[in-house]
Symmetry: C5
Subunit: 92 residues, 5 copies
């Protein structure tokens, strides 16, 4: 899973039928403290936990993205499956 | 999922039988605004949403690429599963 | 599988129901000797072997992360499935 | 899928029993015009379409590599599933 | 699949129960001639073909790593599924 912040939404009317009702969110990968990386790369993920713009989330990739009740058998490879409250880092 | 623009087609006569009737499209990854990256890397994906050259699309990878009705059980690892109308970016 | 050291925990209250009871651990990839890489990149993985902060572990990715009894059918793509006691390197 | 050119063969006598009869081909990734990349990285893939040295092919990765009749349930993660006749690039 | 050389072993007593009896080998990726890459990155894979230190092998990744009789349903994402005898490279 990667850390990301939700920064926008993706609108797509012409899409696979299994995506009907799904919310496609634009996310930006962050470090463990929620800070953006400099490269500004984006990730598109389906929301499974009622996440919204500004939320600090976890994105799961691959076949695991289809393991939520709202994404089962859907042709998507990334899902937001948790909203992060806190990251407790014990530096070594 | 990644953002991409459809830029061409791939013609292959000798192929796995499950690919018969599939349209192989040449795509170029873009940023969230639909702008090409400079490295000119290409992605080959099967079309599942009647996409055409010039369309701004989403590509899904891995086993999820087989989750559309036209790609089920096919030996392909990338599918175009949505045509993008708009990306609403709320900068942070 | 990659080598990693557990360096913290991730707290998420709003999450997919299959994650209830799972422990999300923050990990840092290491080399075969357990030394951190310089880039400070983090990995988030679910614990399946009662690992704790400071442990030197193996993380498995993708659908294989769902193959432990505690992660089956869960929307997670990384699992700690072993705690490393020793790495015997026979240099060539 | 990636573009590649078949450049050799891999001989392995001691292998998983499901690989018996499979042809392991050495491939080099190319761009959409079939030109080699400079880094000389190699890809090993199982042939599913009677490809030979010199052919310009498509390689599919991951679980999709097991979706051809000759690779079903085999422990391989890359398959040649099409021989390319032409790539029609409509520059933007 | 990638080319690798077996360079050591990984000892882990506390591990998922499906890993009991599995041999975890430390591998180093090589080029097609069996030469190490300079970056010294390591790969950990389960052995399915009685490979040993010094052997030149093929590693398969992802769900395909679970397709051997000794790794079925195991939470591992990399398996050694062939020992290479020869790589015949026909330069272009």
């Amino acid at each position: 899973m990667i850390f990301a912040k939700v920064v926008g939404t993706v609108v797509a009317n012409q899409k696979d039928e299994k995506l009907e009702g799904s919310k496609l969110l634009l996310c930006q990968e962050t470090d463990a403290e929620g800070n953006d990386y400099e490269d500004d790369s984006y990730h598109v993920a389906v929301d499974a936990v009622k996440a919204g713009v500004g939320d600090f989330v976890l994105i799961s990739y691959g076949s695991s993205a289809r393991m939520t009740s709202s994404t089962r058998d859907s042709p998507i490879d990334a899902v937001i499956m948790a909203i992060i409250d806190d990251v407790e880092l014990t530096e070594d």
